[in-house]
């Protein structure tokens, strides 16, 4: 039977190679599960617990789409992907969407033919160094050895930053975050650079966090967000507005606690349209009317997901910063639901 599957697959491959499966939304509905690419393990963003249940900020994005489309937040098949395999997996159709702390860049959007549907976390690359090094700014790192993860945008940013500032450095390329931390703690490098969210999360696990300082410079823009393939705008819309629903829900004060109450109808037409008591937004997306209500009821709004996974009450302890609503000085700005 195995053999017949292989040979059958090869035959079909020969017949239909090049026929892109455009209707991802229909595929997901037929299949009954969403196949979502996530990180193989990044604290706060994606990690399996002792029972193998995935949790994290990026994972919530997958669950939000699953609950909107299929009505079941557990109907997600998570595909752990490395930095090298993530884009091929998406481009080849192995996964429906990628939610793996991926930076939205020009070349990824245009050249690799992906569609970034939004930003769910504004990050930036920072440095951590031991206090004993006596450095208070990244501009004092001239001649330092710096641990860096390979295969990410951080490598390029680091080179750019040092070149612009006319400084030299010695990179220590390392495959994973855990090894990089081990090397950094063992003194193999003077400083470690990665996304600031990762630095905060890692510092919290150090023996004596106060011996290490996160330098104030943020040397890059890292808008992280979910992405889908080019050429299937309907599916892109579903993912985009699932994210926007979470952001908008926070703005309008809709939480998982009060969504059932608000879904009975309010005098705010924006909330009514979001929750499907007014208008037919869900129908336009190819979903039912209470798709957004389900997202908020199961996954929560943006703030709830943030606080649960990476917020100040978790060991990671990230402040909202740039990721606050536009009304509170952040960059989150969901387009209107109308």
């Amino acid at each position: 039977m195995k053999k017949s599957v292989i040979l059958g697959a090869l035959t079909i491959a020969g017949l239909s190679a090049g026929v892109a499966g455009a209707a991802t939304l229909d595929d997901v509905k037929t299949r009954g599960t969403l196949i979502c690419g996530v990180n193989t393990g990044l604290t706060g963003f994606a990690a399996p617990d002792a029972n193998g249940v995935w949790a994290g900020f990026d994972v919530d994005m997958c669950r939000a789409v699953a609950v909107a489309v299929l009505g079941d937040a557990t109907a997600v098949e998570f595909v752990p992907l490395t930095g090298q395999t993530r884009f091929t997996a998406l481009a080849s159709g192995q996964i429906d969407m990628l939610s793996r702390n991926t930076t939205w860049t020009f070349s990824r959007d245009v050249d690799l033919k992906f569609e970034f549907v939004g930003v769910n976390y504004y990050d930036g690359q920072g440095f951590i160094a031991p206090k004993a090094l006596g450095v208070s700014s990244a501009k004092e790192l001239d001649g330092a050895t710096i641990c860096i993860q390979t295969g990410t945008t951080t490598e390029l940013n680091l080179a750019d930053f040092f070149r612009v500032n006319n400084m030299s450095y010695e990179p220590v390329p390392i495959e994973t975050n855990a090894e990089a931390l081990q090397q950094y703690n063992a003194g193999a490098c003077d400083a470690y650079t990665t996304d600031a969210s990762g630095l905060a999360a890692s510092r919290a696990t150090f023996e004596t966090p106060s011996d290490h300082v996160i330098l104030p410079e943020i040397i890059s823009k890292e808008p992280l967000g979910p992405l889908v393939r080019h050429g299937d705008s309907e599916w892109g819309d579903v993912v985009r507005w699932s994210l926007n629903a979470m952001i908008a829900a926070e703005e309008y004060g809709v939480t998982s606690a009060n969504v059932a109450e608000l879904a009975k109808g309010t005098d705010n037409p924006e909330i009514n349209r979001l929750l499907g008591t007014e208008g037919n937004l869900g129908e336009m997306l190819g979903l039912d009317a209470d798709w957004a209500e389900r997202i908020i009821a199961t996954v929560g709004n943006y703030s709830e997901s943030f606080e649960r996974n990476v917020g100040e009450n978790t060991p990671i302890g990230l402040a909202r910063g740039l990721n606050a609503q536009w009304t509170e000085g952040g960059l989150l700005y969901a387009p209107p639901f109308r």
């Binding site: 292989i6 190679a17 393990g41 595909v79 992907l81 091929t88 080849s92 159709g93 855990a178 696990t205």
Partner: protein, 438 residues
């Protein structure tokens, strides 16, 4: 005589002295130490240096091992317990992570209610491999060995029991045709029929038949998708499947490379050189990434199966070269003697050449297998959660972030046990097959 002695000699012992202990420096541990460790100034110097080195290593590692925290829910809890028990500057291991996550390291995301299935599959595997490894066991057990791959597949993946049975019956069909037609119409017809008929059967009949039988008699286990496999279960499945499949393939390739038939010879050479000339990690990336572009979107061609195929082909190329070495080491006279007895090619290979060549190749073969088994950890780079991949995932939880060595010590220990047993078996086999050529 004794009387004369009694007068002329003052004292003569009348009885034997009881046997005495040898001098302290000439026996037991002291003698051994003197001879082996302190026999000269150079040895004394080396001994002292070695002891100092061992002490240095152990003094750094042992406290860490001995001060192990076993009961904690997170790394910070581990540190609190350590601070309360030994003080904050004492090195201490936090093996609580193993206690917390060992099922995951062993079984991946396999449903915990069904952990007995991989365990039972391992027992089946050991029972099946025993008659192959140890010739003292009854030969009838080999029938069980032949059936075991299907049984293990059924146990691990579940689903309807008819799938494996229907596939297995294809082999029975092929064998029956071979035996029947070889007698009636010659060996070549038999071989062709034995290959063509089962393939047609598998492609055209097997699927509907299995479904039909499954609908009539729904016997089976809960289906577990390949995505749920992880940890050592994954390593073992890839490793064992690769080992079992690559040995016969490697033998065929080695014979092909020695063959006088132009086409077979060149195909074997090309296959071996191409596969061997490219790193395994490239083949794995080919299997996981490149293949995706050729398959239509949504094709569910199991990633694990692709990895098993790649690993098998890779190790078969190495095995082929090892066995070719064994074939080349045989004296020419053995080939000639086989011909002189009037044996055909397959009989001479099966009865004369291969038993001797394989015996010579055992260390090389086992070496390749150990390498293959350890190479399964490379699948971490294509996103499969083998033990190394899981250790990254475990560290990504807020509870255990910052841990490092504990997980690798555990993983290393399990790999060591598996590889060391393989090595020991190869030594046993060499001793058993030793027929005294030297």
């Amino acid at each position: 005589m004794s009387d004369t002695n009694a007068h002329s000699v003052r004292f003569v012992r009348q009885s034997m002295i009881p046997e005495q202990e040898p001098p302290l420096t000439e026996a037991g541990a002291i003698k051994w130490i003197r001879e082996n460790l302190f026999s000269g100034w150079l040895n004394i110097l080396l001994t002292v240096l070695s002891v100092a080195f061992i002490y240095y290593v152990l003094s750094h590692m042992l406290p860490w091992f001995l001060n192990t925290v076993w009961n904690a829910g997170s790394l910070s809890e581990c540190r609190e317990i350590r601070n309360a028990t030994w003080g904050s500057d004492v090195p201490s291991a936090c093996f609580a992570v193993i206690k917390d996550r060992w099922p995951q390291l062993l079984f991946g995301f396999y449903p915990s209610d069904y952990y007995w299935r991989p365990v039972l599959a391992l027992v089946v595997f050991l029972a099946a491999i025993a008659p192959v490894l140890f010739s003292g066991l009854p030969r009838k057990m080999l029938w069980f060995s032949l059936a075991s791959p299907f049984l293990m597949f059924f146990l691990l993946w579940g689903g309807t029991i008819w799938g494996p049975i229907v596939v297995a019956s294809g082999f029975v069909l092929g064998y029956a045709l071979f035996v029947g037609l070889s007698k009636a119409a010659g060996t070549l017809v038999g071989v062709i029929a034995a290959i063509v008929a089962p393939v047609i059967y598998w492609l055209a009949i097997a699927g509907p038949l299995a479904r039909g039988l499954g609908a009539v008699l729904p016997i089976g286990l809960e289906f577990v998708p390949s995505d749920d496999f992880g940890g050592f279960t994954l390593s073992f499945i890839i490793g064992i499947a690769g080992i079992i499949l690559s040995l016969p393939l490697g033998i065929l390739l080695a014979l092909g490379r020695q063959s006088d038939l132009f086409l077979i010879n060149k195909v074997s050479v090309a296959f071996i050189e191409v596969i061997r000339g490219v790193p395994l990690i490239v083949w794995l990336f080919t299997a996981s990434l490149l293949l995706n572009y050729f398959l239509p979107p949504g094709t569910n061609f199991d990633l694990m199966l692709r990895v098993i195929i790649m690993v098998t082909l890779f190790s078969a190329a190495y095995i082929a070269e090892v066995i070719r070495g064994g074939l080349a080491a045989l004296p020419r006279g053995q080939y000639e003697a086989a011909d002189a007895l009037g044996l055909d090619y397959w009989k001479s290979m099966r009865l004369i050449i291969l038993p001797q060549a394989l015996k010579i190749s055992i260390p090389g073969i086992v070496n390749t297998f150990i390498g293959l088994f350890k190479d399964t950890t490379l699948v971490v780079f294509i996103g499969l959660l083998d033990p190394i991949g899981l250790s990254n995932a475990i560290r990504a939880t807020t509870d255990w972030q910052g841990l490092y060595w504990e997980l690798f010590v555990f993983i290393g220990l399990l790999f060591f046990i598996a590889c060391f047993s393989m090595g020991q078996y190869s030594l046993y086999l060499e001793r058993k097959l030793q027929t005294g050529h030297r």
